[in-house]
């Protein structure tokens, strides 16, 4: 049997860029360690009230021994509330959920992230045993690059305001033909572009987003359309084979 929501303790929760926070949580029970593969996520609830009603899905950014790291962007009410949690406070999490990335892949691999899509890439880079290049696009401020450095060969950065690295979108400097497999996570238009660029050339795995209610596959609220039918982000995903996904606009 899987555990339901479990209480964990905030070890640290700090702002690392504007609107971007890193939270590490530890278990309150010694025996319990965190499980999960890169690409999987937890439902996070850091408030007692019924507003917000739903918990928020956050990817595993890293797992070190007994410590689970979330990297998240404050977008609305839920993530704002999470950002106010101080060390020592408790919160509830459910997971790990979803399928996660296939980390047994070998060869030359590129990870392509946009903005907060960098979150699952940290643990992915650490989990892969292959040659990994990391492409990360930011709007302006760059963050969390240090955390990934030791696990990848090359890092390519882009910003949209020319503040660092290439000036433009990250997809403009990605060379798909150099890689056997590409993993991507970021805004939908970016992932769509990556899939298009790689079509027929390189296998792409994309971590998709959708509004999550139950998080466990029961409500059919988080579906996306794929070539082989309707799929649940939270169960069959969030990671999908890129060419399968029907990117609607």
């Amino acid at each position: 049997m899987k555990e339901g929501y479990r209480e964990v303790i905030v070890y640290s929760n700090k702002q690392i860029a504007s609107n971007i926070y890193e939270m590490k949580v530890v278990s309150d029970k010694d025996e319990l360690r965190f499980e999960g593969k890169s690409g999987q996520f937890y439902m996070v609830r850091g408030w007692e009230s019924l507003d917000p009603y739903l918990s928020r899905p956050i990817s595993i950014c890293n797992i070190e021994e007994d410590r689970l790291t979330f990297l998240y962007e404050v977008r609305g009410k839920g993530t704002h509330l999470i950002s106010t949690l101080e060390s020592g406070h408790s919160l509830e999490i459910l997971g790990p959920l979803g399928n996660g990335f296939n980390i047994n892949i070998k060869g030359n691999i590129a990870l392509v992230s946009g903005g907060i899509g960098i979150a699952p890439m940290i643990y992915l880079a650490k989990s892969l045993h292959a040659n990994v290049d990391f492409y990360c696009g930011f709007r302006n401020e760059i963050y969390y690059i240090d955390e990934i450095e030791e696990n990848v060969e090359n890092i390519f950065i882009s910003t949209e305001d020319d503040s660092k690295g290439y000036n433009g979108f990250i997809t403009e400097i990605l060379k798909p033909e150099q890689y056997d497999v590409i993993f991507t996570c970021g805004p939908l238009p970016m992932m769509k572009r990556v899939v298009e660029m790689c079509k027929g050339k390189v296998r792409v795995y994309a971590s998709m987003e959708s509004r999550i209610a139950c998080g466990i596959g029961a409500c059919l609220g988080c579906t996306i359309e794929t070539k082989s039918g309707i799929k649940r982000i939270c169960k069959e995903g969030p990671v999908f084979y890129g060419e399968e996904v029907l990117f609607n606009d």
Binding site: Y53, C214, L220
Partner: protein, 300 residues
């Protein structure tokens, strides 16, 4: 001894806590978290004669105290349900309700006919899903239309027949009475309230279908009132539904006349909420010296 059992239309339930249709799939996902045998029952995801893909676009949108959904009855169709899902459900040791939706009376009849031949305990006729264009909605608003579909289904239905009412019905009491007159063995209420939301930046409705269904604790006071009114008017078992989050909510529903209850959106907040509810209910009954649910049923 504290007795949580309840008999609904000839079927014994261990306790009055049933997982509501559409919020519990066919139980598979939840069976990873606890033994479904602990539940009073499960109402299946809404089934239609033929497979349905459901609605496009955003399907879930959070609101204050609840959520709007526009799933659009995505389901594998009756045949595939019977083949792939029912065998699993039958092994869980709990009461199985098949929730059936449809666009036409004929569809309802064909679907129920197929379910007649299964081991399903109860059929829950969903005449109220507000998500399907020209769909279930039509039957759930006017008592006369509901009467027609229920009485036709009744004629061929070999199982206990519970009709699930929409809170959007013109007159919930009249609707309930009509369904009972048409042969319903029980009633469940409420389904979701028609609601909507707008994306003010894009200036578009959140949902492709424009209108979606509102559920969750925010609607509880209205659902409770409806169960109260209906329970005063009819003599069949009533399953109370709407915003149930804890055992206290359950007690409220039972006190206004519900025989059992269903938990919907509560399952999204916590997949094990039904267990907490059952435990809480039992403790409450012990504390208050309530021996059986009948003692408090409809005392308001």
């Amino acid at each position: 001894m504290t007795d949580l059992t309840v008999n609904i239309c000839g079927t014994d339930l261990k306790n009055p806590v049933i997982a509501a249709s559409g919020t519990f799939g066919f139980g598979r996902e939840f069976s990873e978290y606890f033994s479904l045998s602990r539940l009073g029952g499960i109402s299946s995801k809404g089934l239609t004669l033929n497979r349905r893909e459901g609605n496009t676009g955003i399907r879930i949108y959070e609101t204050t105290g609840g959520l709007l959904n526009s799933i659009g009855l995505q389901n594998p169709g009756i045949d595939e349900f019977i083949e792939n899902e029912l065998p699993f459900m039958e092994q869980q040791g709990t009461v199985i309700m098949a929730n059936v939706g449809g666009n036409t009376i004929d569809e309802y009849i064909k679907a129920v006919d197929k379910l007649n031949e299964t081991n399903i305990d109860i059929i829950e006729l969903n005449i109220s899903c507000p998500n399907v264009k020209k769909g279930g909605m039509a039957f759930g608003i006017k008592a006369e239309t509901a009467y027609k579909v229920v009485s036709e289904v009744r004629q061929i239905c070999k199982k206990p027949l519970i009709v699930k009412l929409s809170p959007n019905a013109e007159d919930i009491v009249h609707m309930a009475e009509s369904c009972v007159k048409a042969g319903a063995d029980g009633l469940s209420l409420v389904n979701t309230f028609s609601g909507m939301a707008i994306d003010i930046k894009s200036r578009k409705p959140i949902f492709d279908n424009i209108i979606a269904g509102l559920s969750g604790p925010g609607i509880k006071p209205i659902a409770l009132r409806m169960v109260y009114q209906v329970s005063k008017a009819v003599d069949v078992p009533i399953l109370g539904i709407g915003g149930i989050m804890d055992y206290k909510d359950v007690v409220e529903f039972i006190m206004v006349g519900a025989w059992a209850i269903q938990v919907g959106s509560g399952n999204f907040k916590n997949p094990k909420v039904t267990l907490d509810i059952i435990e809480g209910l039992k403790e409450f009954m012990i504390e208050e010296g309530i021996k059986s649910l009948e003692e408090i049923r409809g005392i308001i």
